[in-house]
Structures are given as structure tokens and as C-alpha cells.
């Protein structure tokens, strides 16, 4: 690797592969400024008008009382102090953390397991791949939430099935102790997307390493732990970040299955559901904006945590 003198920029080949003269300062001539900004105009308007400015506005709103109809009234950090004393807020935070902590590993675990099974040059691979992906595709819809609710209701499919074995099942949706788990299972049911990513990653793994391991007499589990997992760690990381962010944003199943209430007794009151209730139910938009910012920061913290610890366990290819 050539040493890079920070005073001299010998530019790597640019878009048209011309070598620029080394100049002592960082003044690169960007050749396509005007064209680029023309192509980027819609996105720039979107980023500023729909993302950056709203986020700043949201921060402002979070320090006001705002019900949409009258002007916001400034109250400083009062929303935030109210939040942490609000039992519903605390409940929704607890429920959501529990949901994320259980659903993400379950989902990724199932995805990994099935991907490993499918990686064995099976006949019918593309059929299996598509079939396992189907729940992922339709999973976030209202229809699936409706279906799920009826699978786990007192008279539903699961209990009918258990009844064949003489087991009398309970109302899984209606019981606070199990209601959230029906949501967790629904999330895990949609493991198709991360599974596809794992499968693609597994296909890229170098075969010679596996052959060597087999010759060494390494058993399936040892091979998996010592070779497959480290080689797959970039995919695991990618899926972990993606699925965690998705899990925090889950809304539709909680809303549909609990009828918008988050019941029974708040056991399915996911954070996004409570946020919706506050913002659009009781029109406490300042309060809801504060909740939104906290969600943003929590997701940011999780993501930062993943990135920070990535160095310890994510190994990129040689």
C-alpha cells in the first residue's frame, strides 16, 4: 500500500479515470456539481422538507403542549418529566423492550437454522426458499394480524389442534401473560427475509475451509460454531441492526390484535401504539413528539451499541 502523504493528494482514478495533478491543498474540482444537484433535487427537497426540518420541528414540539388546532404553548422539558412518571409510558417501554429482546433473537435464530438447512444443495431449494419467505412478505398486513388473532383466540385454530390431544387451551390473546407472546411469535414467523440474507451469505462461504474442517474430523456443531458463525458474522450483524430497528417500529399487529387498546391490561401496548394513542387519539402532540424523540434516541443507542461491539465479533473476509 503506497504511503499517503496528507499534504499531497494523489487522487485515485476518478469517474473518468483521469489522473489529477497532486495539489498541496484539498481543493478537488468536482466536475459534475450542477448535474448532480439537478438529479438530486427531489431527494434534497425530501431530506430537508420531510426529514430534517420535521425532526427539528418535532424537537421543538416535544417541549410544547400542542393539539394541532391551536398554536403550541411552550412548556420546556415538562413533557419529558411527565413521561417518566406516566405508568402507561413505562408499561409501553417495558412491553416493547420485552418484545424486541425476545422477537429479534427468535427471528434470527429461526432464519439462521433454516438457512443452514437449506444450504445443503437440496432438491426443491427454490421452492423452500420462496415458501419460507411468503410469511415475511404478507406478515405486516392487517389480514395476517386478523388471521393470527383467530389462530390464538379461545376458539381458535391452536386450541382446536390442542383439543385433538385432549389439551384444553386458554385464550392466548386474552390473557395478559401470553398476549405479547402471540405478537412475538408473529414476528418470528416472518423470519423469511433474514433467512434469505443468511442463505445468500452462506452460499458465498469458501468451500475449501469446510473441506479442511471435515478432514480434520470436525463435527457438524463444531464446524458451525467455529467456522460458519464467524464467517457469517457480517450478515448476522446486518440482520441484527435491521431487525432491531424493525422490531421497535412494530405497530400494525399490536393495533389490530388489541383493537387499538394495547390490552389486555396493557400487555400488548407497544411503544408505537401508545405514541399513536397520545398523538392521534388524545391529540397530545407535544407529548407524543417527546415520545418519538426518545424512541429515536433509543434506536440510535442500540444501533451505536451494535456498531461499537461489532469489532469484537464481526470478522470480515480475508
Amino acid at each position: 500500500m503506497a504511503s499517503v502523504n496528507t499534504d499531497q493528494r494523489v487522487a485515485a482514478p476518478g469517474p473518468s479515470a483521469t489522473v489529477r495533478d497532486p495539489k498541496p491543498r484539498k481543493r478537488k474540482k468536482h466536475k459534475h456539481n450542477r448535474a448532480a444537484y439537478a438529479f438530486l433535487t427531489p431527494w434534497l427537497i425530501g431530506v430537508f422538507g420531510l426529514t430534517l426540518i420535521p425532526m427539528v420541528y418535532s424537537l421543538y414540539l416535544s417541549m410544547t403542549n400542542y393539539n394541532l388546532l391551536t398554536s403550541p404553548t411552550w412548556i420546556g422539558l415538562k413533557n419529558y418529566t411527565l413521561l417518566f412518571q406516566d405508568p402507561n409510558f413505562i408499561q409501553s417501554a417495558k412491553v416493547t423492550i420485552e418484545y424486541v429482546v425476545f422477537s429479534v433473537p427468535l427471528k434470527l435464530g429461526a432464519a439462521l437454522l433454516v438457512a443452514v438447512l437449506l444450504n445443503k444443495k437440496l432438491r426443491g431449494l427454490s421452492f423452500y426458499r420462496s415458501a419460507f419467505y411468503l410469511p415475511s412478505l404478507i406478515g405486516a398486513s392487517v389480514a395476517v394480524a386478523v388471521m393470527w388473532q383467530q389462530v390464538f383466540s379461545q376458539q381458535g385454530l391452536l386450541n382446536e389442534f390442542l383439543g385433538v390431544f385432549g389439551i384444553h387451551g386458554q385464550d392466548w390473546i386474552g390473557q395478559p401473560s401470553t398476549a405479547l407472546w402471540t405478537l412475538i411469535l408473529l414476528s418470528a414467523w416472518q423470519f423469511g427475509t433474514p433467512m434469505l440474507i443468511f442463505l445468500a451469505g452462506l452460499k458465498q462461504l469458501p468451500k475449501d475451509v469446510y473441506e479442511a474442517a471435515e478432514l480434520d474430523g470436525s463435527g457438524a456443531i463444531r464446524t458451525f460454531v467455529k467456522i460458519t458463525l464467524p464467517l457469517l458474522s457480517p450478515m448476522i450483524f446486518f440482520n441484527l441492526v435491521l431487525e432491531t430497528i424493525n422490531a421497535f417500529q412494530t405497530f400494525t399487529p399490536a393495533y389490530v390484535i388489541s383493537g387499538g387498546q394495547g390490552g389486555p391490561i396493557g400487555s400488548t401496548l407497544l411503544y408505537t401504539l401508545y405514541l399513536y394513542q397520545k398523538g392521534f387519539g388524545s391529540l397530545e402532540m407535544g407529548y407524543a413528539s417527546a415520545m418519538a424523540w426518545i424512541l429515536f434516541l433509543v434506536i440510535g443507542a442500540f444501533t451505536a451499541l451494535y456498531f461499537a461491539t461489532a469489532r469484537k465479533w464481526v470478522t470480515y473476509g480475508d
Partner: protein
Amino acid sequence: MSVITERAATATPPPKAPAARRKSLLARSNWRTHIVLIISLVVMIYPLLWLVGASFKPEDQIFSTWDPLPLHGFTLSNYTSGWNATGTSFTVYIANSLVISALVVVGNLLTCSAAAYAFARLDFAGKKFWFGLMLSTLMLPFQATMIPQYAIFYKLGWVNTFLPLIVPYFLAVDAFFIFLMTQFIRGIPRELDEAAEIDGAGHVRVFFSVILPLLRPALITTTVLTFVWTYSDFLRQLVYLSDNSKYTVPLGLNAFVDRTSGSSYGGLFAMSVVTLLPMMAVFLIFQKRLVDGVASSGIKG
């Protein structure tokens, strides 16, 4: 890892026995693997089959058996009764959903490809910064901008119209597709651009006549995924649409849920099946492309 490859180079595999052992082992474990996979698949897909079957059963039989087949009385009455059960015909809901989805697809295709072209091909000041910003919006939850966007649209008088659901997608708000297309364009050889440039083509010409045609696979993936996600989007539509006549399919179905108080599951199931049909159709037609698109999104570079 290098240690392992070194040992592989020096080790000599003993001839027949392990090869034969390996073969029969593979055959046996494949057979077992198939069993495991099929059982898992059946368990996973069963609720869907049950839903479809139940939609054709008379009301009193829906919960009495767990087998999915409407063996004791096939009926279409759930479909006819459910279609108008919410006061507005499901045709209206479906039409609304299709209109919105189609427009969002167009928006995404145009603006995300344009942005991707800039990121992938053009050299401009602040490129790294803007690209990083674009990537970080991928991780932004909708809730972070939901309320202020609503306030803005409220002031514009756009609440309870389709506009807030469509216009953002003409502003390339779906960074996922910008990223997808940028990666794709990077794989297109620059020589093709340069050939066109030598012929005197400016960036717009290069974009339309060179890049876009070659971008076709990514454009199709974008179309399919955008359609599926928009069609099943619930929260955004819930927030902005309040007239029953403007409801989209998810909202219409949800309105149905509200009315079903333990009495007419047949209609609810029938309409659920109806709402799933477009997605199933998309899935069956585009499954290879969907699967490939999702799989490649996780591979960097």
C-alpha cells in the same frame, strides 16, 4: 483461517471409505432435512390454509374443526356478505389502494433512480456527506417524523386526502431503493457511459438511454417491493385518512374488525383472503425476483 487452509493443503484424504461414508451420510441427512423442512413449512403455512378454507365455510363450522377444507358445506356467502359489510364496497377500498400504490411506484422509480445515478456516477461536492445522510435516513423510524409531517400536511390542508401518502415518494423518501439502485448502477461498466459521452451525450441522455435500460432488474424489484409495502402499509394510511370512502384495503379490513364482535367471522375471513390475493399474485409471479432482491440487499458491494 490460514492455519486451516495450510493443513488442508498438507493433508491427504484416505481413498474410499470416508468418501462412501460421506455420501451415504449426506443422503440420509438430506432425507431427514427434508422431513424437518416440510413439517416446519406445514406448521407455518397452515394458518393461511385454514383462513382460506374457513372463508368458504358456513359460519357455524368455522371454529368447529381445525381441518382447512370446507368439506361439509362450501359457501360463497361470506364473500358476498363481507364485500359491503362496512358500508362501503370493498371495490372502493381496492381501487384506492391500487391508485395510491401505482403512484407511489412511479414516484419511487423516477426519483430514486435519479438520486442513485447522482450517487453512483457523478462527482460532486459533499458527495460522501450526502450519501452518509441518505444511509442514515434508512435507520430513521417513521415515528420520528410522523407527527411533525402530519402537522405540516395539516397546515397544507392535505389531511384526509391521498396527497401525504403519495407526494413524499416523489421526493425520494424511500432511501432503501436509492441504496439498492446505487449499488446496482455501480455494477454497470463505466465504458458504456463513456461511449455515450463520446457521442456527445450529456448526463440526462446517459441516464435515460444507457443507465435506465440496464437498471431494469433493480427497477422491477423496486416496483414489486414498493407495491407490496404500500399496499399493506397501515399506520400512514390510518393517520391520514378518515373518510370511509377514502379508506384503503388495510383500513377497510380494520374497519371490518371493529364491527365484528364475535358474530360474523366468515365475512371477516373472506375479506382478509381478498386483501391477501394481490400480494399472493405478486408473490407467485415475482418470487424469484423478490427473493434475489432481498438476498442481494444484504451483500455489500
